[in-house]
């Protein structure tokens, strides 16, 4: 849990850094809005990726176990393994909507 909080903090800081970069090019009035959008976009993709990582870690371990016993189950396990990727896709959608 501690590790997860650290990773999350890094992502938030990275998002803020991106936001600060954005303020350099935007006008003074829209700087705050652009910055918040960039933070939101970063969080949408970053949190989605973290969730996917956690889910795929567990599913991957179980899928590796199943495939070790029954190699013919590889295809079925691959489908289960990629299902959490939808979280990143949703994050991407969020990112593009905010850009």
């Amino acid at each position: 849990m501690k590790k997860l909080a650290t990773v999350l903090a890094i992502f938030v800081l990275a998002s803020i850094a991106t936001a600060q970069e954005a303020t350099g090019t935007a006008g003074a009035s829209s700087a705050l809005v652009d910055g918040l959008k960039a933070i939101g976009a970063g969080l949408a993709l970053g949190l989605g990726a973290i969730g996917t990582g956690i889910a795929q870690g567990r599913i991957g371990a179980a899928a590796a176990g199943v495939t070790a016993e029954r190699p013919e189950k590889f295809g079925q396990m691959l489908i289960w393994f990629v299902i959490p990727e939808t979280l990143v896709i949703f994050g991407f959608v969020g990112l593009f909507l905010l850009r």
Binding site: R58, I59, A61, A63, A64, G65, A68, E69
Partner: protein
């Protein structure tokens, strides 16, 4: 913790699909003869271990050896894909057969049996190497055997040494076996951290105490045979051993109130089967699944031995079903 068992439980779930379903066991018990039973059995997942059982002149000893080989292979396989903390927890489950083998060793040495006779009675499947147990069986007494086991015998070697000392001071074989049980469960509860598996072990201790209390009714000083670690307290155990069958834990009532020892044994097996199934359901991401699988595998092998004997000696199907607990 959950991540540690993802890979292990994935493999165990697949191994579980290879266990013989009850329908197959019923069909085997309904087979017309022993050769027919062997033919049907050779069509199951156990086929690869059964090659020698169909040879000319082979009988029950060959089948027993084949079933032991199958159990040993599966138990070693489960142990081989564990590492770190899960290795300790699953090792505790496999050490149950070490405990049985150490009791066999102790009984054999106390009765002056030959090392060959003792060696034939060992059940392969535990964590102790069979050559080590066989070397210990050549000792002249339990204390010498404890010295042999101290080289590579792990935590149960210390338990065996303490039990051997308990036997030497009282000369009572019961003290030896109780000390072994107490030592094993002490080691098991100190190793296992997962709540689900601890609950299962606690139920095992309760069942063991309930069966002991039944057998000790009327015995003097029954408190020394109590194994701590379960939900039953020593006071309850002494009360049960004095003849009182009422117990606060209602699930133990079928064991305590059974009319015969066979019925009590059957009730205790059902209770432990249920506890293992509950552990697998409630602890699906932990060692509960392994506990349930190993128990089901043990039951499968025991059932096949029973059916084989029934078929070999032409016991009626109803008799076999009764022994299996289906009636």
């Amino acid at each position: 913790m959950a991540d540690d068992y993802g890979y292990i439980n994935g493999r165990i779930r697949i191994l579980r699909t290879e266990l013989l379903p009850q329908r197959t066991l019923e069909e085997l018990s309904a087979s017309s003869s022993y050769p027919e039973f062997l033919r049907q059995l050779s069509e199951t997942a156990l086929a690869e271990d059964l090659r020698e059982t169909t040879a000319q002149g082979s009988g029950l000893p060959e089948l027993d050896a084949a079933l032991s080989r199958n159990f040993h292979r599966i138990a070693r396989k489960v142990f081989s894909f564990t590492d770190g903390e899960p290795k300790g927890e699953i090792g505790v489950l496999l050490a149950k057969w070490d405990l049985t083998n150490l009791k066999t060793l102790g009984r054999g040495l106390m009765k002056g049996r030959s090392s060959e006779t003792i060696g034939e009675a060992f059940i392969p499947g535990g964590t102790l190497a069979l050559p080590l147990l066989q070397a210990a069986s050549t000792a002249t007494d339990v204390l010498s055997a404890a010295q042999t086991l101290s080289v590579g015998g792990g935590p149960l070697a210390r338990v065996f040494r303490d039990a051997a000392q308990a036997f030497t001071s009282s000369n009572d074989p019961m003290d030896f076996e109780v000390a072994l049980d107490q030592g094993y469960y002490r080691y098991a509860l100190s190793t296992v951290k997962t709540a689900g598996l601890r609950r299962y072990l606690s139920r095992e201790i309760d069942v063991r105490n309930a069966l002991s209390a039944r057998q000790l009714r009327g015995a003097a000083n029954p408190g020394r045979f109590f194994v701590p670690g379960g939900s039953l307290l020593e006071g309850d155990f002494i009360r049960l051993a004095s003849g009182d069958a009422s117990v606060s834990n209602a699930e133990l009532a079928p064991v305590l109130e059974a009319a015969t020892l066979e019925e009590a044994d059957l009730a205790s097996r059902r209770l432990l089967d249920h506890a293992a199934s509950s552990a697998a359901t409630s602890d699906a991401l932990g060692p509960g699944l392994a506990a349930d699988f190993l128990r089901k595998k043990e039951t499968e092998i025991a059932s096949l031995r029973l059916i084989a004997r029934g078929k070999f000696y032409n016991v009626p199907q109803e008799g076999i079903r009764r022994e299996l607990g289906y009636v």
